[in-house]
C-alpha cells in the first residue's frame, strides 16, 4: 500500500522531468498523461488502504477529465502545427514581453 504510494510519487517525478525536458508539444502532453496516471495510482492505493470506493470513483473522473484534456490539447497542437509547420515549444516565443 505505501509501496504503491511511493511508486506513484516516483512516476509523478518522472512525468515532471518529461514535462520540463521535452521540447515538442506532443511529448510534453505524453508526460502530462504520465503524471495524471500516477495520481490515479495513488487514488487507487488509497481506496485499497482505506477500504473505501470513493478513491476509485475519483480516479474514474480523473480519467474522463484526461480524455477531455487530450482532445483539446491535441486540437491545439494540430492548429499550431498548421500555422507554423512545427510543434517545437522553443519556437513559440511571440508572446515574449
Amino acid at each position: 500500500m505505501s509501496y504503491y504510494l511511493l511508486l506513484s510519487a516516483l512516476l509523478f517525478a518522472i512525468g515532471l522531468y518529461g514535462v520540463l525536458a521535452r521540447r515538442t508539444a506532443i511529448l510534453i502532453f505524453m508526460s502530462v498523461e504520465l503524471m495524471l496516471n500516477s495520481a490515479n495510482l495513488a487514488l487507487a492505493a488509497f481506496a485499497r488502504g482505506s477500504g473505501n470506493l470513493n478513491g476509485q470513483a475519483m480516479a474514474l473522473i480523473v480519467i474522463a477529465l484526461a480524455a477531455a484534456e487530450v482532445a483539446v490539447g491535441l486540437g491545439i497542437v494540430v492548429a499550431v502545427f498548421r500555422s507554423r509547420q512545427s510543434t517545437a515549444v522553443d519556437d513559440l516565443a511571440e508572446f515574449r514581453g
Binding site: 520540463l20 521535452r22 521540447r23 515538442t24 470506493l53
Partner: protein, 185 residues
C-alpha cells in the same frame, strides 16, 4: 511486498523512463502504452477491476490512438528539434524531479501506516459497487464531467477546422445588386 509488486514496479518505472527519454516519438508513445497496460494490471491487483478495464479501454485504447494518430499526421516523430537553446535545462529538470519525489516520499512517510486489508469493502471494484457510488454521492461531478466532455468535443472540432469559411454570395445576387444600384442612379 511480493515478487509481483516488485516486478510491476520495475516495469512501470522502466516504461515511464523510456517514455520520457526516447528520441523517437512513436517509440515513446509505445512505451507509454506499456506503462498504461502495466498500470491496469496494478489496478486489478488493488481490487479496482472496473478502473483497470477503463484504463485499458480509454487510455491504452482511445487516448494513445489519438496520440499516435496526431504524431503520424504531423510527421513530427523526431523529438530532437534542432539545437537546444537551453542545454542546462535537462540536469535542472532531473534535479527538480528528484526533489519532488523526495518531498512526496516525505509527505507519505508522515501519513503513518494505514493497516492493510483492515476492513476492505471494495467488492473487487466491480461496476455493481462502483455504480452505486458514482450515481449516488458522485452524481453532480459525473454530470459536470459530461458537460465538460461535450464542451471539449466542440472545442476540438472548432480548433482543427481548416479556416472559417467566408459567406459565399451567389453571383445572381451580386448581379441584381448591381442592377438595382444602376436603376437607383
Amino acid at each position: 511486498m511480493s515478487v509481483f509488486d516488485l516486478l510491476m514496479g520495475a516495469l512501470l518505472v522502466a516504461s515511464a523512463l523510456a517514455a520520457v527519454t526516447l528520441k523517437n516519438a512513436i517509440h515513446a508513445g509505445l512505451a507509454l502504452v506499456g506503462n498504461f497496460l502495466a498500470l491496469a494490471v496494478v489496478y486489478f491487483a488493488l481490487e479496482a477491476q472496473f478502473l483497470g478495464w477503463i484504463q485499458i479501454i480509454v487510455y491504452a485504447g482511445a487516448v494513445m490512438v489519438l496520440f499516435l494518430f496526431v504524431i503520424m499526421l504531423l510527421f513530427d516523430a523526431k523529438a530532437d528539434v534542432g539545437p537546444n537553446p537551453l542545454p542546462w535545462m535537462r540536469p535542472i529538470a532531473a534535479a527538480l524531479a528528484a526533489l519532488l519525489f523526495l518531498a512526496l516520499a516525505y509527505a507519505y512517510s508522515s501519513l503513518g501506516p494505514i493497516d492493510p486489508l483492515a476492513d476492505v469493502k471494495l467488492a473487487g471494484g466491480l461496476p455493481k459497487a462502483l455504480g452505486a457510488i458514482l450515481y449516488g454521492g458522485w452524481l453532480y461531478p459525473v454530470l459536470l464531467v459530461a458537460v465538460l466532455l461535450f464542451a471539449a468535443t466542440v472545442a476540438a472540432v472548432v480548433l482543427v477546422q481548416p479556416q472559417i469559411r467566408k459567406t459565399r454570395i451567389k453571383p445572381q445576387v451580386l448581379e441584381r445588386d448591381r442592377e438595382l444600384k444602376e436603376v437607383g442612379r
